[in-house]
Symmetry: C2
Subunit: 301 residues, 2 copies
């Protein structure tokens, strides 16, 4: 599971900082999460292959999270894309994009599918045999969802040295990997745990930006491998969190602690701060395993 | 008259090139012309003061000319702007911007005025005592206007050494500067040309992007100080001009020659070319005074 931060600052693109966008590589998928202005340039800079992006998840319709989307969609067309693109985001996103394409007289030549979100409860938005993506309803000034990416458990690992001790037909291997016991011709039952080992542990990633401090999401993100949680403010500006619908570094750390996550990644910093290391320092007073996002940073989990 | 090129490449923003946007400083105005994605970052990089931009001119609704506009409008709000902003562009631009602001629940706190254009003839879009801005209808794949910025002639220069030869009351000075003769108390008429010199020459700038080769605009841009004319292609791709609605370097030079402009500035290069000096070489075979735009380049005319 690889996370590339294309941008992790709030409000506006600036000379050396970008608004929110990140790429999650998991189980051969390349998921683009949020798409602030300049995202397509950051994709190039970070050498992410455009054609591998098939799903884009937009948390909410504040500009610093989606103003780069229409440009990226247009660029896909210029690059003669023909594979389908799926956009998941709040209701209204389809109207915004299609209006701009219509007025520029340039519809896409590739299939463009919008999956508009309206639910205030968590819903599954994408699923295949290896991964499931669901929304994490967030509390912000406008309708906003985080996204939870969960690997599905794979097959159990066949312990061949054990299997070969018995006269087991190869035809049963698939069943054993699915966790079933084996009954030999003489009626002997061999317990599955004797023949297999646990599948490799599943990983999960929860993206939570933007949100005020809100414990409602804790059951959804309980025990995730990595939690990205916005931390717009330091403690010195804690009083701004409520009015702006944002969190402080300590808020994020408290959620991480209560949700017992593996690693907390901080981001969405207010551009008023010059030293983002301070976010880590404050968060670490509450939760130990803290990383700070920064533009161009790549995490391997 | 100072022209700052924020971006001058066609199609998409890339790692080291930006789509069309430029700043014209003339007679204490800062005019922003076109606003591709990333324009606000380029404004910062070129140290253009955001608050001094009061008029934005958008040629057409292809993304590489206006996808940065909504972000800039939003950033103005975050910077607590309170002075009015005027946007001049094709019909539809108001709907695009207002829809995005509405869905992000973030209207501007400053007065935002849209001046939507539909005319296929040249119209005056802005005028004050020192400057006039009019459209230059262009031939492209969608409705598109260039813009002509013209200084107005100032007052004639009073030649004080001459004026003091006569017993002329100070109250007449303003009339003389306007070009009127003086009639002394004894009936003597003093011709204006004896008392004044011509005002300083007016300057003018014509922005023409995007357009196919089209001589209809020549009367409008006749004799301008500077003509920016798109040159998307080199001669080797001349055959693409007709289908895409663009011009080659030689097309631009031919227009410059026929319109007898002072200086031709080329831009809007297709990103297929690595060496933009070739545009200058080809244009110079037809028109002598050619400059090539490049991102971050500043021209003083």
């Amino acid at each position: 599971m690889k996370l590339t931060i294309l941008g992790c600052y709030s409000a506006t693109p600036r000379t050396f900082t970008n608004p929110t966008s990140q790429v999650l590589e998991i189980n051969n998928h390349i998921f683009l999460i949020d798409c602030g202005e300049g995202t397509q340039v950051e994709l190039r800079r970070n050498r992410i292959k455009f054609s591998r992006i098939k799903h884009i998840f937009i948390s909410h319709l504040h500009g610093d999270h989606f103003f780069g989307l229409v440009g990226l969609i247009s660029t896909f067309r210029l690059l003669t894309r023909d594979t389908p693109l799926h956009i998941y985001g709040p209701k209204g996103i389809k109207e915004i994009i299609t209006l701009q394409l219509k007025l520029s007289n340039s519809w896409t030549d590739y299939p463009l599918h919008f999956h508009e979100l309206i639910s205030k409860d968590s819903v599954v938005v994408f699923e295949d045999e290896k991964i499931k993506v669901s929304t994490i309803p967030l509390q912000h000034r406008v309708y906003c969802n985080g996204f939870l990416f969960q690997e599905k458990p794979g097959d159990r690992k066949l312990l061949m040295s054990k299997v070969l001790n018995y006269d087991i037909d190869v035809a049963y291997y698939r069943s054993i990997k699915k966790g079933n016991d084996v009954i030999l011709d003489d009626g002997t039952v061999i317990a599955n745990e004797e023949l297999t080992d646990d599948p490799k542990p599943v990983k999960s990633y929860a993206f939570c930006s933007d949100t005020k401090y809100d414990e409602n999401k804790i059951p959804l993100i309980k025990g995730v491998t990595v939690l990205y949680h916005e931390s717009t403010f330091l403690e010195s500006h804690q009083h701004l969190c409520a009015t702006t619908g944002h969190s402080s570094a300590k808020d994020a750390a408290t959620i991480a602690k209560k949700a017992e996550v593996g690693t907390l990644v901080l981001g969405h910093y207010s551009t008023r701060y010059n030293d983002i290391e301070l976010f880590k320092e404050e968060a670490k007073t509450i939760f130990k395993n803290v990383e700070i996002a920064d533009d161009g940073k790549v995490f391997d989990f």
